[in-house]
């Protein structure tokens, strides 16, 4: 589903040049749950950004469902992300001025789905993450776990092929992390949504189908197998 071939990402030039990714080769299968681990600054987030099209690659090729991202213009990349991808970040990135429901329905509105339909779908997915009663709350009125569940609901509402999660449990305690992870697993199983999770938490990684270990812009190790 997602292929990366010789992906390089270089920031800056001259003495300040930083090689964040140094020729990454990677395949992510449909419905796969992949964890990316490694020390800080090893290039995990850069890899996620490049694979998801949030950032452009310096060289190499990234293909999503056979489409080369670098061949797409900005608008088409936006369209691709809107239709095929969902994002979850450590800092939730919910729009602070919108309620939980409004945050969740937003990706559908961006896709051009009618407001009524978007609203219904948002309510439905909020029920699934257990936050229907909190649908009219602003993000500031939600706990960290609740905010992350809203972020997950927002990522899932468009029924994407892949969800990119950058340290989704980084700001949460163990039990909340487990709850979020359970939701990820549930969505992965029921919707067959691919998941790419950048994490420092080995316990989270253990629950994924495959774990990639990165260091200095390279994938240095790879482990398979999920603890069920």
């Amino acid at each position: 589903m997602i292929e990366a071939d010789g992906v390089w990402k270089v920031f800056g030039s001259g003495e300040s040049k930083v090689e964040a990714l140094r020729g990454i080769h990677l395949n992510i299968e449909s419905g796969e749950m992949l964890a990316i681990m490694g020390p800080s600054g090893c290039g995990k987030t850069s890899l996620l950004n490049c694979l998801s099209g949030l950032d452009s690659v310096s060289s190499g090729v990234v293909k999503v469902d056979g489409i080369t991202l670098s061949d797409l213009n900005e608008v088409d990349r936006d369209q691709l992300r809107s239709n095929k991808m969902g994002f979850v970040f450590q800092s939730y990135n919910l729009l602070s001025v919108l309620t939980a429901q409004e945050n969740v329905e937003l990706p559908l509105l961006i896709q051009g789905i009618k407001r009524k339909e978007a609203k219904e779908k948002a309510s439905e997915i909020l029920k699934r993450v257990g936050l229907y009663k909190r649908k009219n709350h602003l993000p500031t009125q939600l706990s960290g776990g609740q905010a992350q569940r809203v972020a997950l609901a927002r990522a899932l509402i468009t029924q994407p092929s892949v969800i990119w999660a950058d340290e989704p449990t980084g700001a949460l305690d163990r039990s909340t992390s487990n709850m979020i992870m359970d939701l990820f697993l549930q969505m992965n199983r029921t919707e067959r949504t691919s998941m790419v999770i950048v994490t420092h938490d080995p316990q989270i990684a253990r629950q994924c189908d495959r774990v990639l270990y990165m260091d200095s812009g390279l994938i240095v190790d790879e482990q398979y197998g999920r603890e069920d």
Binding site: T45, L48, N49, S52, G53, L54, D55, E74, V75, D78, Q79, L80, R81, S82, N83, M85, F87, F89, Q90, S91, N93, L95, S96, V97, L98, E102, L106, P107, L108, L109, I110, Q111, G112, I113, K114, R115, A118, L138, P139, T140, Q141, R154, D166
Partner: protein
């Protein structure tokens, strides 16, 4: 001004010194502040530009004020010195013989000292024409209507202490002291000879013994304002005035500004009167202050918005500093320091800009003000730019104080927050306990306030209210002010409470277009949640448009007054030239003066009695009816034509014709009816047979088209003694309207030897008036447009900061697939809609304020024109301009990469 400047400097200097002392102990704070300003250099520059415009305008207004004040002071010193009152013998009804005897003088001295006047000087005063003759014995140069004055020079030296020491102690009968301006006009100097011709054919040749600068007594132009001043000997003056003993005038000196009346005497408060006349011409000057104050207010709102954004943006950083052990007052100091840096740079630059604006403004007004005053009132006031350091310093200090105070206020708010609040992720404007509030309550408030506003608006424009207001006289102005400010308050409350409903309504209109709806929702959600910022932005734009629409309505209302300027005959009632002379001149006497002038089609004399409490009473005859073409709006039904009405008034001394505005303003009769009885100050009762309406264009031109008209026969009863209040207006209509200027020059030459000066050309007078207003209004509009610059810069800075503040959210929206153009559209919509609300509010308030001020300043005599098309153009222009200003920050927003969403540290 020195006092205010000293107080403000006295407050600021210790603050600055204390701040510097604290900085010396904490140099890292200066480093952080400096680096912050440097890092956000674009917003720093825009902030400085926005705040310096306010300082520039207030500095310019202050320098304009001091220049005007300085010029007036120089003029008063030159032409009055210590003189405040002139007691004219011919105006004292009880005086017999009609001049002051030694007995009268000692009585006046006694009364004057009792009233608080410091010195008294008896003088002989008259007017004469001065000229020089060449070797062939022909007239070379002429100075018409010069004030000839004579006094005891030794006594004068004590009256005007220390300024007349250079004058000779005594003048011989053929000696004269002339002013340097006469010397210049007649090209003569000391030891030259000068001819003096008085209207009773008295002629003298006098020798110039001294040429002196005009200063007080040597520059005093007399009650009737001569064109120059000349000091003659006592003997010559007696010969010219015909007063063998005694004096024609008594001058009083005092240092107090108030009018001090005297028992037994009718004084002419000449100093006060002249100042009043100057002030009437200069009554537009406060408008510059108003626009400047609005600009300052705009600057404050802008600075508050920007500093609030800066503080919000650095919330976490400040929280970290607090967590690291930095004290609250150190944080506050750091922020204040930034304010101080902004304040110092912007106020100094603003001061320089204000200085330049003031010079340009004075240069533009200089000539037209001088010529207008000279033509209108024979006041030779020379306006010059006068640099007063205290005005410049005060402007700079005011700018600095405002900026510093804004930052002080913001820093105080920020340091009051706890470390937890500062470190929290939520934006500062959203609290944990935030609720969206009830829409019903908002709707209720909005309906109530805006409903009340509409009701008051309808009341204010209703003719019955206007009529009632006229009956309230001065109180009417206050009622207007109270109503206006109530309306402003209602509008402000209504808009600030109701804007979320409006925004929600707009976004719902686009429910059927999901992408547009989403864009509107995101944009408006920020505006709705961040109430304070939105309200400040609405206020900012309403203030901008208040000043601009204010200037526009005033311009549109005054301009039509001069629309038909080139048809001056219509404006002044059918005449081309007018002149005035003391006493009563008959038609035949007047005609004998003009027999040589074939270009004259018709002429007439109107006798006039000026009564301070009543106004002007015009005495007319058949000649007037032949010439006059006044606009009769109402007449007794017995008269078939206007001419019949005038002829009946001339024949029957019991009839009277009244000017409509005069009836309203002077007599307090809003609707004067035919058949009403009017009592004149002489006690006689007259029946109104006609009402005349002076043309709008002739407003302020009151020589012959104002007051009431009665038969000349009525004047015969009042002329039993030499009454100074009786005058004759001479009205002339030329054969060729386009040759009036040449005719005026010929007639003036004929009139000057008879002591009739000047000959007025209303066309020129109206043109000068028009030009003065046009220049003033143009400058006012320039001031307003500069204030608009604050708004443009402000909107750009605020939106730029907002975009910067939301970059992570913008990144997230991009990650979710929102195209850059939609982000761009969102920012444009947010800025434009908020600005449009403010712009609409400002247009309504500004035009309302203009109407109110016009009603107050113009004594309700000018019909206010609502320039609806102009206002609409102004409104749409402002909206378009605002939209353009939002493009740059919107473009910045669209440039944020989706990967911004993955960045954690700001």
């Amino acid at each position: 001004m020195i006092w205010i400047t000293s107080v403000l400097c006295g407050i600021i200097l210790p603050l600055l010194l204390f701040g510097m002392y604290r900085l010396k102990r904490n140099p890292h704070l200066l480093q952080i502040s400096y680096r912050r300003i440097k890092k956000d250099w674009i917003t720093s520059i825009l902030t400085v530009i926005g705040s310096m415009i306010g300082t520039a305008l207030i500095t310019a207004a202050l320098l304009l004020y001091t220049s005007v004040e300085g010029s007036i002071e120089a003029f008063m010193n030159k032409h009055f010195g210590p003189i405040t009152v002139d007691i004219v013998a011919s105006e004292q009804n009880k005086l017999n013989p009609p001049y002051f005897t030694e007995k009268d003088i000692s009585k006046i001295k006694q009364d004057a000292h009792q009233a608080g006047y410091e010195s008294v000087l008896p003088i002989l005063s008259t007017y004469a024409n001065l000229y020089t003759i060449d070797k062939k014995g022909e007239v070379e140069s002429v100075v018409p209507q010069a004030h000839i004055i004579s006094f005891d020079i030794n006594e004068a030296k004590s009256f005007q202490k220390g300024e007349l020491e250079h004058l000779p102690n005594e003048l011989q009968s053929d000696e004269v002291i002339i002013s340097d301006t006469i010397a210049k006009r007649l090209h003569i100097g000391k030891s030259d000879w000068i001819q003096v011709k008085f209207k009773l054919d008295k002629e003298k040749t006098l020798k110039v013994v001294a040429v002196t600068a005009e200063q007080g007594l040597t520059g005093y132009r007399g009650v009737d304002r001569g064109t120059e001043t000349m000091v003659v000997s006592n003997q010559t003056a007696r010969e010219l005035t015909g007063i063998s003993t005694g004096f024609s005038n008594i001058l009083l000196a005092s240092s107090f500004p108030q009018l001090q009346t005297m028992e037994n005497w009718t004084p002419e408060f000449i100093r006060y009167k002249t100042l009043q006349e100057i002030n009437v011409t200069l009554k537009f000057i406060p408008l510059f202050y108003m626009v400047s104050l609005i600009a300052i207010l705009l600057g404050i709102i802008l600075i508050l918005c920007i500093f609030k954004l800066i503080a919000d943006d650095r919330k976490k950083e400040l929280g970290l500093m607090r967590a690291m052990g930095m004290k609250r007052n150190e944080i506050a100091l750091m922020l204040r320091l930034e304010g101080m840096i902004y304040g110092l740079i912007s106020s100094l630059l603003g001061g320089v800009m204000g200085f330049i604006i003031a010079i340009i403004t004075v240069r533009n007004l200089q000539y037209i003000l001088q010529s207008f005053l000279q033509y209108e009132s024979q006041i030779d006031l020379y306006f010059t730019f006068q640099f007063t350091p205290e005005a410049l310093i005060l402007g700079i200090v005011i700018g600095f104080v405002f900026i510093h105070t804004c930052m002080w206020w913001i820093s105080r708010k920020v340091v009051q927050k706890s470390i937890i609040e500062l470190l929290a992720d939520l934006p500062v404007y959203i609290s944990k306990n935030h609720t969206r509030g009830s829409n019903h309550s908002k709707a209720g408030w909005t309906i109530f306030t805006l409903g009340s506003w509409i009701i008051l608006y309808i009341i204010m424009l209703h003719p019955r209210y206007q009529a009632w207001l006229r009956t309230m006289e001065d109180l009417g102005g206050y009622v207007d002010v109270v109503l206006f400010f109530t309306m402003v308050l209602l509008l402000a409350v209504g808009v600030t409470k109701g804007y979320p409903l409006l925004l929600n309504g707009i976004q719902r209109l686009f429910s059927f277009l999901p992408k547009v709806f989403a864009t509107f929702k995101i944009s408006f959600a920020h505006a709705i949640q961040n109430k304070r910022r939105t309200q400040l932005m609405i206020l900012l734009f309403s203030m901008i448009m208040l000043s601009t629409s204010f200037a526009s309505v005033i311009h549109s209302s005054i301009s039509p007054l001069f629309k038909q300027i080139y048809d001056s005959r219509e404006a002044v009632g059918g005449f081309d030239l007018t002149a005035q002379t003391k006493g009563l001149l008959t038609d035949s006497e007047q005609k004998s003066l003009m027999t040589k002038h074939q270009q004259v089609e018709a002429s007439a004399t109107v006798w006039q009695l000026f009564d301070s409490s009543f106004g002007v009473i015009n005495g007319i005859d058949n000649e007037f009816v032949a010439v006059a073409d006044l606009n009769v709006i109402k007449k007794d039904s017995h008269f078939k034509t206007n001419r019949d009405m005038w002829l009946a008034t001339i024949r029957n001394p019991r009839l009277i014709v009244v000017e409509r505005r005069f009836a309203v303003l002077q007599l307090g009769k809003a609707d004067i009816a035919i058949g009403d009885t009017l009592q004149l100050p002489t006690g006689e009762k007259k029946t109104v047979v006609g009402v005349v309406a002076a043309e709008n264009e002739s407003y302020g031109y009151t020589m012959v088209n104002d007051g009431v008209w009665v038969s000349k026969k009525a004047f015969k009863n009042w002329n039993h003694k030499e009454n100074r209040a009786l005058e004759t207006a001479i009205l002339i209509r030329g054969k060729q309207e386009n040759e009036v200027a040449q005719l005026a020059s010929k007639i003036e030459k004929a009139f000057i030897p008879e002591g009739i000066y000047p000959v007025h050309n209303p066309k020129v007078q109206l043109a000068k008036g028009e030009y003065l207003y046009q220049v003033t209004l143009q400058l006012l509009e320039i001031f307003s447009k500069l204030a608009t610059g604050i708004g443009a810069v402000g909107l750009m800075v605020i939106l730029y900061r907002i975009v910067h503040e939301r970059r992570q959210q913008l990144g997230m929206l991009r990650a979710m697939g929102m195209a850059p153009q939609w982000l761009c559209t969102g920012i444009v919509i947010e800025g434009t809609v908020i600005a449009t609300i403010g712009i609409s509010m400002g247009v309504i308030m500004g035009s309302g304020l203009a109407v109110m001020l016009m009603n107050m300043l113009m004594d309700r005599a000018v019909e206010v024109q609502w320039p609806l098309l102009n206002l609409f153009m102004l409104w749409s222009g402002a909206v378009l301009f605002t939209m353009l200003c939002t493009f740059w920050p919107a473009y910045q927003a669209s440039r944020y990469a989706p990967s911004e969403a993955t960045r954690y540290i700001r």
